[in-house]
Amino acid sequence: MLTVHEARKHFGGVAALDGAQLTLRTGEIHGLVGENGAGKSTLLKTLAGVHRLDSGEITFDEAPFDASSPRRAREAGVAVIYQEPSLFPDLSLAENVFVGRQPRRRGRVDWAGMRRRAEALFAELGVYLDPERRAAGLSIADQQLVEIAKALSLDAKVIVMDEPTAALSASEAERLLEVARRLRDRGAAVVFVSHRLEEVFALCDRVTVMRDGRTVAEAAIAGTTPAEVVRWMVGRELTDLFPKVPSEAGEVLLEVRGMRRAGVFEDISFTVARGEIVALAGLVGSGRSEVVRAVFGIDRYESGTVLIGGSPLPQGDPRAALARGVALVPEDRRQQGLFMVASVARNSAVVVLDRLRRFGLVSGRAERGMARDWADRLRLRYSGLEAPVERLSGGNQQKVVLAKWLATEPELLVVDEPTRGIDVATKAEVHRLLSERAARGLAVLMISSELPEVLGMADRVLVMREGRLVAELTRAEATQERIMLAATGQAVPT
């Protein structure tokens, strides 16, 4: 039904697409996988009319497909859910869904009708959001769900989802997969990008694998295995995804006592010891990020204390936290983790300027040296240290964020969804990095919505539900369903 042939696309020096192929059939869910920077998003954006191909052709129902603008693409029946959700903070959720196509009665926008239709869509998705609410302040997950409602409302022939589940917790992801199946059964073709192979195998009928902008393989799911797909992606055998290095928990470094912020979290008490990786699990919206934000000093809290090495950490002062060896890799790399227009060097240097100063003046050379050093350590794919990070692919951006914080040589590293949108290979590296450092005495507090990751990495698992700590499980005790039970509110069998 839709085919992409020999697609080529260059950004300055970088060849984002270099002979990509894609063939979509009616009524199928088509997986698109590949490492960070393989060119998945770029390929999808050409379908969406965001990018124009340098060469190559796209046909839609045997006719050449004109994707010269997002509007054209949409009118042709292609709906896209982008990797980075993009809503309108000041508009109501209902209007966010229908923006540009608001339902009309007698030539005027039909507000009541719009609200009703939005409610219907949300119900279909099982989203509990008030259509009248402004989008400002929505969590990433909530934003993602609104984006999906938007795509649904178009009832398009081709629906493209670029890592829609990256920000979703297991249960929400499951709900999404349901929706995808329903769309397929309606006869739509769904393109599904994900770094979680288990999802791809659970959902997709066929899969296309990309590497370095090329399509390296296309197979029916039935006829292949995750191992094989990974080999195609990486071009080599991949070693253990969770290279957990056993490490001895040292003395307690972080202690949180009865921390509370009305409406967001209640009496949170826990500890993290040197050399220990503690995972903070829970459904999206359970307030995990809010907790670590409060610990690091981004948000204030009403009561409770945070102790580092036994002595209290002042509230709402990230600098103090940094000085005490605390680092936070935030959940949202584009808004919180990076200065998108700034260079790789600037980004990775900004938190360690003090160390880069000579006679009180910041030395650009030291800055670049440090950045290059980290770029190599994390196998970063970049065109140059002076290139703005907005040019990097999602995964590579995440690497820069990590580099930036590891450069502070922290004693306590707090990571919020550290591998969101990161490919298997890089994931493995991040995991190795974390556990190696833990082994060398680093205390790690990790928020993750990926249970395999939690189980693979954590020495202890804390589970949050609706702003409360509801369970603490040792590595031995922790299992998928125990965590899910706790997170969803059933009693925990101990």
């Binding site: 965001v50 402004r134 400002a136 302040g137 929505l138 990230p318 808004q335 200065f339 938190v351 100063r357």
Partner: protein, 341 residues
């Protein structure tokens, strides 16, 4: 646009060209006497522009600078009229200016109000205080020994007394913006205040101190203005705010913050001053000067845009992306900032 040829690098060239061409066109323009006047005449603008550059770099703006300068001048005058020794009066006047900056800073960072709105308000408030203070009685009882500092020159030279102040300012502010931690912080905040917070940059503190600094530099300008014109009047320096902002933007500073250079601004201010003097010498009618000022401001943004456009033409699709590619637009939020922040 290309790394090599950016607007802030074009400006110094423009400045030199103006001086050379201007002098060859009309020797009177190149005379030390005239250049000395030009330098003295852009003094206040330059002083305020130093701080304004930093403020705009963080993505904020300060429209109250002219009113602060005037208020400083009026406080100074009022005190002198009431028998306070002038030296002390100057100090207190400057203090008043800094206080004004504190008011701006408080309203903007503590209450989280948009700086454009706030400083439109304080622009009126501070100017109003000038009238309340001096009303219809300007002060001119300044001792020659002081006013000479404003309008005079170093003996046996053309160098006006303000010149060293301006040069020192240029050096200090260039270093501050481009070679210190604070400078990096200012740029970072302008690129993304939220990311800056997560990087442990004390955003509120930096912004507050910048508005204080802006108040201080405006106050300084107010003192220079007072001495140069040997008088304090409630309607002094009216409309300077737009002149300064125009100069800073003409200097290649991005109104959205996060991009710009101090040398760009310095050469912009000098260039505008020199050009104006040249045009006046060449008997260009004063009414036409506004047209030229505005035209130049437009040029300063059109030229870079045009250059980029030309580079695009070579790679046909570039601007479509940077325009509507969600991943490549720094301004498309992921977690949407709730407007309460």
């Amino acid at each position: 646009m290309s790394r090599l040829l950016t607007w802030d690098k074009i400006l110094p060239v423009l400045l030199v060209l103006t001086l050379v061409v201007g002098t060859s066109l009309d020797p009177r323009f190149g005379r030390g006497n005239n250049l000395a006047f030009v330098v003295a005449d852009i003094g206040e603008i330059m002083l305020i522009a130093f701080a304004m550059t930093l403020v705009i770099m963080t993505g904020e703006i300060d429209l109250s600078v002219a009113s602060i300068a005037a208020l400083t001048s009026c406080v100074l005058g009022w005190l002198v009229r009431h028998g306070v020794p002038i030296g002390l009066a100057v100090v207190l006047g400057v203090a008043a200016g800094v206080l004004c900056g504190a008011v701006n800073g408080f309203l903007i960072t503590a209450l989280g109000l948009p700086s454009l709105a706030v400083t439109i308000g304080t622009l009126a408030l501070f100017r109003g205080l000038c009238w309340a203070l001096l009303g219809d009685e300007p002060v001119a009882s300044y001792p020659e020994s002081w006013t000479r500092l404003g309008s005079g020159r170093f003996p046996h030279t053309y160098i006006p007394y303000v010149a060293p102040v301006l040069i020192a300012g240029a050096i200090v502010f260039t270093v501050l913006l481009h070679f210190t931690r604070s400078g990096r912080w200012i740029v970072a905040i302008g690129q993304s205040a939220e990311a800056a917070t997560f990087a442990g940059i004390p955003v509120a503190r930096v912004k507050t101190s910048l508005f204080l600094l802006s108040g201080f530099m405006s106050a300084l300008a107010g003192v220079v203005y007072t001495l140069r014109f040997a008088s304090s009047r409630p309607d002094g320096a009216v409309g300077y705010e737009l002149l300064v902002i125009a100069a800073v933007l003409f200097g290649g500073v991005s109104i959205f913050g996060g991009a710009g250079t101090m040398w760009g601004v310095v050469s912009a201010v000098l260039f505008l001053g020199a050009l104006r003097s040249l045009l006046l010498l060449e008997k260009v009618p004063p009414n036409a000067l506004n047209i030229i000022t505005g035209g130049l401001l437009l040029v300063s943004v059109i030229v870079p845009a045009a250059v980029t456009a030309l580079q695009r033409r070579r790679k046909p699709t570039r601007n479509k992306e940077s325009s509507c590619d969600p991943d490549s637009s720094a301004r498309s939020p992921q977690r949407l900032p709730s407007s309460s922040r």
